[in-house]
Symmetry: C2
Subunit: 198 residues, 2 copies
């Protein structure tokens, strides 16, 4: 089976984007990325925030020019992103986050969070931005927002290779799920921002 | 000749990135994008700001899997970006900008600034971000930072299809150029931010 970077299979339209798709199980079967993208679109339309997913970096090696209008890329490769997947602005603040899914039940393995992403989130915090992870526990149907500063100070004290579920419950904020938006992570962020100001 | 989106020719390494390249004409012959990228790298290293260029969006249509390790993209097309090219965080503020080059001497044609980019910059401003253009007048060897809010209020009063050089001189901030960084646009931004606070 072909492995694509998460959320970047070549066929972008899926049946569940079909307008005839109706269900009471809102968001069921949707990837974390799809839920976040729908929520970002909702936030944008409601003038609540401007947050976008960055395009996947692709190294183009060869192109062809079959028509007058469009360059056809005939050889290219996915590259590793140097930053996180999402950033934008909310309530005047710079927001930067990465979304991760795990099938684990008791912990989030930190090999899912490569060093360049840690360095990037740390640098964003030092510039006064708000960096966090959204971690989805697939089996529990729970998605947490965890401020990166808390992960960072934890990592300075431990040699552990994962964040336990207990740590995430204690230091993270459960994101409400629904229909519009599917994943209301700004609600979770609000609680964190309130705590920061106190 | 094959037309690529600005700055995205398939061969990324050029002679001028070669370490043996030495010159007193710093930045001469470099594209605006290369100057900005070098400056962003400088700002990042100096812990002054975290600002990155977003990857070019590419629509992948077909992939091959010749090796165990890497997906080879065999058919793909450049897509139009829905936002601007650069964003990040500086002094706790969300920064969002687009860089444009023109060979014109007396004006910047506004057809270079499509509506979706205007809407995006306007939305960023409404969320408390700082959106601006960097416009390079190639023939004059001058690069200006122009706050988007000034362009927007100008566009509300006129039906003109360009920004005159006089308008840009009056409303923009000339960016100092040098070696490290090649384009010190944060200096120009500082003056604008100071004026905003007064």
């Amino acid at each position: 089976m072909v492995k694509y970077p998460s959320g970047h299979s070549p066929i972008q339209k899926s049946d569940r984007n079909n307008k005839s798709y109706k269900t009471n199980y809102a968001g069921r079967g949707m990837s974390l990325e799809e839920k976040i993208n729908q929520s970002n679109q909702y936030y944008l339309t409601k003038e609540m925030a401007v947050i976008h997913k960055k395009p996947t970096p692709i190294q183009v090696v060869q192109v062809d020019y079959p028509h007058r209008s469009a360059v056809k890329i005939t050889e290219a490769y996915y590259r590793q992103a140097s930053t996180t997947d999402y950033n934008g602005v909310y309530k005047g603040k710079y927001i930067d986050f990465e979304a991760k899914e795990t099938k684990n039940k008791t912990s989030f393995p930190l090999n899912n969070l490569p060093e360049h992403q840690r360095n990037h989130m740390s640098a964003c915090n030092r510039q006064g931005g708000i960096a966090f992870l959204l971690i989805s526990f697939h089996s529990k149907n729970e998605i947490f927002l965890i401020p990166y500063e808390r992960i960072e100070s934890y990592l300075q004290k431990t040699s552990k290779k994962s964040l336990t579920y207990a740590f995430i419950q204690k230091n993270g904020y459960l994101c409400p799920t629904g229909v519009f938006p599917m994943l209301d992570y700004l609600k979770a962020l609000d609680i964190y921002l309130d705590e920061l100001e106190q």
